[in-house]
């Protein structure tokens, strides 16, 4: 009898805990769902080919689009990737593969601090570093700011992914008389490649939506991008500008821009998870 | 079966071998007594007692097999199992030889002029018993030295056997009648059996020496086959 009582109490507790977890998960997912639904509902009507390919029209004229901001965003992400990825991946490789305990610890700490720095501060930093010295806002400055922003994420993800590669593979390679660097490049990084790519995509997705650091660096532009040393439009900044403007037409455009941005981010993160995630599973 | 019970099993095996050995000593002792005294009852008891010896021998063989199959014995355990199997085989043979002696004791009639032969048989029997006792002692004490001495104390037995045979084959004048009788065949066979008993013990001693030293015939056991063995028969 006592056993039965205990069992029913256990079942009750277990069921309760299960419900609690389910509820929490649901609550956590609600905002995401709401955002997606809301952005789609509000943004979809204004989304058309013109929006994707046209320059913004001056105030008062209807139509036009955010073509330049989309291209600008891609350009900024490209610059950030070109600078941030090699440095980030190499730094992560260093942390994972060449373990001098003291230095790794310091680098890791710095990376963690850097990833905790508010993005607007990074904007100010790059402003001081590049905008003031070059005496102009530029796509380059924006790209550098985003690169700095993604650097710690890329480095730490790379490190973690490399660490997940079992040591037995490194040993297998070294025992074949394959040199250290060849082992790292051809075996370890290749094996962790899927995971690293996922991390990179997530980092790119994150910086794609950054607004604050771009306000001081890439600024904005109403024309198509013309060069690295010129200010350039970007989706987040454009959305911000349009959203705070007093015109209903622009609000409509801001929603459409948001939808494009959300889709871009989703494509990057979900797509990379699906593609590289499958590849990674075959490793283990 | 655990390692613990394996070691218990080895102990029991050792104990049963010694028990079998004491039965065999008794059989040899009684059969030769029967031979010398013509005591048929004694001879019959030896013949009847052989069943126990055979039974023990089979049990030991089975036990050696089972322990080897299940425990993959190595080192001294392996040597012990190997040697136990061979020792029990030797002891069983000795038991059979004692039965043979007992059977002769039943058939052999007293005859004139037998005394010198009986005296030789008495000496042979006593010596064979000594060899057997020493052989068993060597096994019980794991004493290679005693085991290696067996061949030496076996020598007088061989000498006496040759003497008996010689006297029967080339009898002197007064031995003529004895040597040509059925009795002489019995004596020849009995002396042959006793001599074989001692030989079995000597061979057994070689196994006991291996148990202690790991050497067969004084050499490392795992050795290449001598290349000239085939050619000995004139190939």
């Amino acid at each position: 009898m006592k056993g039965d009582l205990n069992r029913s109490r256990r079942n009750l507790t277990s069921g309760f805990a299960y419900l609690l977890c389910l509820l929490s998960t649901a609550i956590a997912l609600i905002p995401l769902g709401l955002i997606l639904v809301y952005v789609i509902v509000q943004g979809a009507p204004a989304l058309n080919l013109d929006f994707l390919t046209q320059l913004p029209k001056p105030v008062g004229e209807t139509g036009g689009g955010m073509g330049n901001a989309i291209v600008g965003s891609l350009m900024l992400i490209g610059i950030a990737a070109a600078i941030g990825l090699p440095i980030g991946v190499l730094a992560g490789t260093y942390l994972a593969e060449f373990r001098s305990p003291r230095l790794s610890w310091t680098v890791r700490l710095l990376a963690d601090i850097l990833s905790g720095v508010p993005s607007i501060i990074i904007g100010v930093f790059v402003y001081t570093l590049l905008v003031l010295t070059m005496k102009r806002f530029s796509a380059l400055a924006g790209g550098v700011a985003l690169a700095v922003l993604m650097l710690p994420t890329v480095a730490r993800t790379t490190e973690e992914m490399l660490r997940m590669v079992p040591d037995t593979l490194r040993e297998a390679s070294l025992a074949l008389g394959i040199s250290r660097w060849r082992t790292i490049v051809s075996i370890v990084i290749k094996t962790a490649g899927g995971g690293i790519m996922t991390g990179i995509m997530l980092a790119l997705a994150r910086i794609a939506g950054e607004t604050a650091p771009l306000l001081f660096t890439a600024l904005n532009s109403r024309t198509w991008p013309t060069g690295l040393d010129k200010p350039v439009a970007s989706l987040p900044v454009q959305i911000y500008t349009y959203a705070i403007a007093p015109y209903a037409d622009w609000h409509q455009q801001a929603w459409a821009g948001s939808l494009v941005l959300v889709l871009m981010v989703l494509l990057l993160s979900v797509g990379s998870k699906l593609y590289f995630g499958r590849k990674m599973r075959s490793v283990r | 079966m655990t390692r613990q019970s394996f070691h218990e099993g080895l102990k029991q095996l050792n104990y049963e071998i010694l028990r079998m050995a004491s039965l065999v000593v008794e059989a040899v002792d009684l059969s030769t007594q029967a031979l010398l005294t013509g005591d048929r009852k004694l001879a019959n008891s030896v013949i009847a007692g052989d069943d126990d010896i055979n039974e023990l021998s089979l049990w030991i063989e089975g036990q050696c097999l089972a322990l080897q199959a299940r425990q993959q014995p190595v080192a001294k355990d392996l040597r012990l199992l190997h040697v136990c199997l061979l020792v029990s085989l030797h002891l069983e043979r000795i038991g059979d030889l004692a039965v043979n002696v007992a059977k002769i004791a039943k058939r052999m009639e007293r005859t004139e002029g037998a005394e010198p032969y009986l005296e030789l048989l008495r000496k042979m029997s006593a010596q064979a018993l000594e060899v057997l006792r020493q052989g068993i002692k060597a096994f019980a004490d794991r004493d290679a030295e005693v085991a290696n001495k067996l061949e030496e104390i076996d020598e007088p037995i061989d000498e006496m056997f040759k003497e008996i045979l010689g006297r029967l084959l080339h009898p002197s004048e007064e031995d003529q009648e004895v040597a040509s009788s059925e009795w002489a065949t019995h004596v020849a066979l009995a002396s042959r059996y006793i001599e074989r008993i001692a030989d079995q013990v000597v061979d057994m001693g070689g196994r006991v020496a291996f148990l202690v030293t790991g050497e067969l015939d004084g050499k490392y056991f795992d050795r290449p086959l001598a290349p000239d063995i085939k050619n000995q028969f004139g190939e």
């Binding site: 079992p166 390679s173 025992a175 074949l176 | 993959q72």
Partner: protein, 259 residues
């Protein structure tokens, strides 16, 4: 002879911990040498000293000499990578490269260790190595399938083939069958028997029956007391060690009267 290894007074440490000490052993070419001993006696460490894998662990050091082909492999001018190319290793758990095909796994050493070979040469080496490892018949129709798609025993033979492809003199095996079922173990043991015609094999094993089955010579390592380094207690022909060991400690260990 190329497959002969002699260690002189070899000791190895991990930081302050002494793993093995004073091991002097002559490993005979074209024979299988087994190293047995209880867990933590340093037999794997010893093995990893032979192809300079030990030093990959941070803080790990060795002292003493290992003479291979007439020279000390720990001499300053000797390149560890080159040593490892001549002294291959097979590990406890099969560890094929997960993203590589069966063929690429086998040829990984050739392609990545800077041993230039053309396509035909590599294909030839792949086939030869897989045949040596007794795996060819099972995989010849699926060489482009991932190495991870094979069974555990096949993966281990793939790893053996991979080690053979770079044509080493010596193959070290660190408990190569401990993760395998008896049938796969049997196959690996048969493979070892075939290989010893052309290679020297040193195998560390927990399984004494395996040592007794596959090896020509056996070494017994033991840590006498906790905290003490492992030492070589006895070394000799396998049938001698398993029938008539010289040392009481060896006998106690192999007969299971340990501790």
């Amino acid at each position: 002879m190329a497959g002969c290894i002699t260690t002189k007074n070899l000791s190895a440490t991990f930081g302050d911990i002494r793993a093995i000490e004073g091991i002097s052993i002559e490993i005979t070419a074209n024979k299988v040498t087994a190293l047995i001993g209880p867990s933590g006696c340093g037999k794997s460490t010893f093995l990893r000293c032979i192809n300079r894998m030990h030093e990959l662990v941070p803080g790990a050091r060795t002292s003493g000499e290992i003479i291979w082909d007439g020279r000390d492999i720990y001499a300053p001018e000797v390149d560890a990578t080159e040593v490892r190319r001549g002294i291959g290793m097979v590990f406890q758990r099969p560890n094929p490269f997960p993203l590589m095909s069966i063929a690429d796994n086998v040829s990984a050493g050739l392609r990545l260790a800077g041993m230039r070979k053309n396509k035909a040469g590599i294909d030839e080496a792949v086939e030869r190595s897989l045949k040596l490892a007794a795996l060819w018949d099972e995989v010849k129709n699926k060489l482009d399938k991932p190495g991870g798609s094979l069974s555990g025993g096949q993966q281990q033979r793939l790893c053996i083939a991979r080690a053979l492809a770079v044509e080493p003199d010596i193959i070290l095996m660190d408990e190569p069958c401990s993760a395998l079922d008896p049938a796969s173990t049997q196959k690996i043991e048969d493979t070892m028997d075939q290989l010893k015609d052309n290679y020297t094999i040193v195998i560390v094993t927990h399984n004494m029956q395996q040592a007794a089955r596959v090896s020509d010579f056996t070494g017994f390592l033991l840590t006498r007391e906790t905290g003490e380094p492992g030492r070589l207690i006895e070394y000799g022909p396998t049938s001698k060690i398993f029938t008539m060991p010289d040392h009481k400690e060896t006998e106690n260990y192999i007969t299971g009267r340990f501790g």
